[in-house]
């Protein structure tokens, strides 16, 4: 029996562009609160429709980016490794996330002082390996610490384009041996590592990457992503995945899309440890 996908989301009640901490954010380009709420709800409903159990985190005024739950931290079995945000603007989210995870049965731990780490925004399992983005938000050294703490192999990859400041904006594992990625967000070393280590690696064009199509949520064989990536959708279908396009334009104004709005509590489908855990308990 397959475990029910378990996802954490935070309604966008206090969401807005209140500061600028990535190239997408521009305080003069406001998001439309009603439209944002509708788009968020459509994603939420699509996940429920795919059989996921969605938990809701109570929004907090003054923490507009709390909607991007993907950056809460990293889950590995029952351990929640809480994020240590680079920017002060987001550091207030940490106690909120920590409380929620503690209340929901996770052991909450932190990276050492000064070691920046932005959770599932920059650390994604594909198979048994944790692929980790560094430079803009998380530190390469922190990723090595995370590998030691979890006892897993971590491959830090440098992010070289500030528009793709988190790994989950340019790389998305869809299965333990498959992922989509935008090559332009990595340097030669990073591209080599991905090509060498991931059996099926789908390239996303610059144009489609720009519409945040790599920031996708995978539930089983469904891939939920922002509308505007027909080529990627065809590629996914060819591999037996169904692309589910959604309008998430209001969130892209803050530099986030489908993946950023969700946190997979039971481990991503592409993470081998989740599959192994389901097999053991199923």
């Amino acid at each position: 029996m397959v475990k029910t996908p378990w996802i954490l989301m935070c309604p966008p009640r206090f969401y807005g562009i209140e500061y600028e901490i990535n190239p997408w954010m521009n305080r003069r380009v406001k998001s439309d609160p009603d439209k944002a709420a509708r788009q968020w709800q459509a994603l939420h409903d699509a996940l429920i429709g795919l059989g996921a159990a969605v938990e809701l985190l109570e929004p907090v005024e003054g923490l507009p980016d709390l909607v991007f739950t993907a950056n809460a931290g990293l889950v590995y079995r029952d351990l929640f490794l809480s994020s240590r945000f680079r920017y002060g603007e987001r550091q207030g989210e940490t106690p909120v996330f920590d409380r929620w995870f503690a209340e929901h049965g996770f052991r909450v731990e932190h990276t050492p002082d000064g070691m920046h780490f932005e959770g599932a925004g920059d650390a994604l399992f594909c198979g048994e390996t944790l692929f980790a983005g560094y430079r803009f938000r998380s530190d390469a050294r922190t990723m090595s610490w995370v590998g030691d703490r979890l006892g897993v192999e971590v491959l830090p990859l440098e992010l070289v384009d500030p528009r793709y400041y988190h790994l989950d904006t340019c790389f998305c594992p869809i299965a333990p041996n498959a992922a989509i990625y935008f090559p332009g967000a990595f340097d030669e070393y990073g591209r080599s590592v991905l090509q060498d280590r991931i059996w099926t690696l789908i390239e996303v064009s610059a144009e489609e990457a720009f519409s945040f199509s790599c920031n996708a949520v995978v539930v089983g064989r469904s891939v939920l992503l922002n509308r505007g990536a027909p080529k990627l959708a065809r590629e996914l279908e060819r591999l037996g995945f169904a692309a589910v396009p959604l309008d998430l334009t209001e969130f892209i104004k803050a530099g986030g899309s489908a993946k950023c709005l969700t946190f997979r509590l039971d481990g991503e489908d592409a993470a081998s440890w989740r599959t192994a855990a389901s097999a053991a308990t199923g």
Binding site: A140, R141, S144, G147
Partner: protein, 423 residues
């Protein structure tokens, strides 16, 4: 865990002996993530150079690996720039402690707990930076002074009161000598001392090293014992000096004395060098030779007055080859050029070896070992002696870079002079 230490040493410029150095650690899955090659590439791209000091590779996929890399740059500012960049890629500076430096509390002695040097390249950490030790010499202390700071070896007897001396081992490290990448001319000498090696090959290697040293603009040092003269080899050495293959001579009273005896009487210790027979009253010859030189004031005066007209010492004066003659307790005379104060002789030898790139130690245990004590390990030393124990003694006293050739001196020098005279 697979342990490989020390592993592949790599350098942009192998003779990089200047500049600022900082050690950084890179750990994690640095091989599969290509972080290690990337970090090394970046160092070179930014104009620095590196040595991998330590590298332990994890054996299972989940095992992290670890490398310690010494990063070197021309200036501290450049180094800061490089290290700052490497930190972005997860490298971390290994902030070692500075060396502890205390003023000498007794003149002519080190403070208690002083750091005792080796002949290998050494670095001292001062003000958060590793700096290279100058005048590397074994069995000395380390003094640090100046701004920017410099460090150098200092002999015990040369310590004035208050000189800053390094104590303890913290903040001092020995940098192992790099094995030459190109096959060394002595690569065939798998054992360091042997009588069972093809002499012609050894000889060509010595000749090749002498040529290479001269081409590199460095000096060739000859340290010789009186057996050179006794065996009838003085002419070969004179020829090597005359033809410009030797720039510095270390010897004792005996070599110079018997060389001059030969020039005056054609005997060595009273033995006729052509007939091989002891001459009547021949044992007086070397005393008469010494006496003549003392009456003239010295070897230079003897050459300039036309009294001394051949031999090793004559060629030294003629060719402007520096020599240091160090005295000993059993010396007759001695010749006026002989330095009888042992410490003064050591200082003169120390001052003279600065540009030496190759040292040939022939038939001299005493002066050979004294010279070995002074030379940094980077100077190739070849010791030629009929007695294997001489070479062993040298190595046992720390001059481990010595290559020994067990052979009779005369045929060796005759062949060497002929080899070097060739096209």
């Amino acid at each position: 865990m697979g342990q490989a230490e020390p592993t592949g040493t790599d350098r942009e410029s192998p003779d990089a002996g200047t500049g600022a150095v900082e050690e950084v650690e890179v750990r994690g899955h640095i091989v599969d993530s290509l972080l290690l090659p990337k970090v090394l590439d970046r160092i070179l791209q930014m104009g620095g150079s590196f040595e991998i000091r330590e590298c332990v590779i994890g054996t299972r996929r989940v095992d992290p690996s670890r490398a310690v890399i010494a990063v070197r740059a021309e200036t501290p500012e450049k180094l800061d720039e490089i290290v700052g960049d490497l930190i972005e890629h997860g490298a971390w500076p290994l902030h070692a402690e500075d060396a502890r430096v205390v003023p000498a509390d007794v003149a002519g002695a080190f403070p208690e707990g002083f750091y005792s040097t080796t002949n290998q390249p050494t670095q001292v950490r001062v003000g958060g930076r590793w700096i290279d030790v100058l005048d590397q010499e074994m069995d000395c202390g380390l003094t640090v002074s100046g701004d920017p700071p410099t460090a150098r070896c200092v002999a015990m007897a040369d310590v004035p009161l208050g000189m800053p001396i390094v104590v303890g081992h913290v903040g001092v490290r020995v940098v192992p000598l790099e094995r030459p990448r190109d096959a060394s001319p002595f690569a065939f000498m798998s054992s360091r001392v042997s009588s069972e090696k093809p002499k012609a090959v050894s000889l060509r290697s010595v000749a090749g090293s002498i040529r290479a040293t001269r081409q590199a603009g460095k000096k060739v040092l000859l340290v010789g014992g009186p057996a050179i003269v006794h065996t009838g080899s003085a002419g070969h050495v004179a020829r090597l000096i005359r033809e410009g293959w030797i720039q510095l001579l270390f010897a004792g009273n005996a070599l110079a004395t018997h060389d001059i005896e030969q020039a005056f009487y054609n005997t060595s210790l009273g033995v006729d060098l052509e007939k091989g027979e002891a001459l009547e009253h021949g044992h007086e010859h070397h005393l008469r030779a010494i006496n003549t030189i003392r009456r003239l004031g010295g070897i230079r005066q003897a050459v300039e007055s036309g009294r001394l007209t051949s031999g090793i010492m004559y060629e030294c004066i003629r060719s402007g080859v520096d020599y240091v003659l160090a005295g000993s307790i059993r010396d007759d005379g001695p010749l006026p050029d002989v330095i009888t104060d042992t410490l003064a002789a050591q200082r003169a030898m120390r001052a003279a070896i600065k540009d030496v790139g190759f040292a040939l130690l022939i038939a001299s245990a005493l002066h050979g070992i004294a010279t070995g004590n002074l030379l940094p390990a980077s100077v190739q030393v070849v010791c030629v002696d009929i007695n294997p124990a001489t070479v062993t003694k040298l190595a046992d006293r720390g001059t481990f870079q010595t290559i020994g050739m067990v052979t009779d001196v005369e045929p060796f020098l005759r062949s060497l002079a002929a080899e070097l005279a060739g096209p």
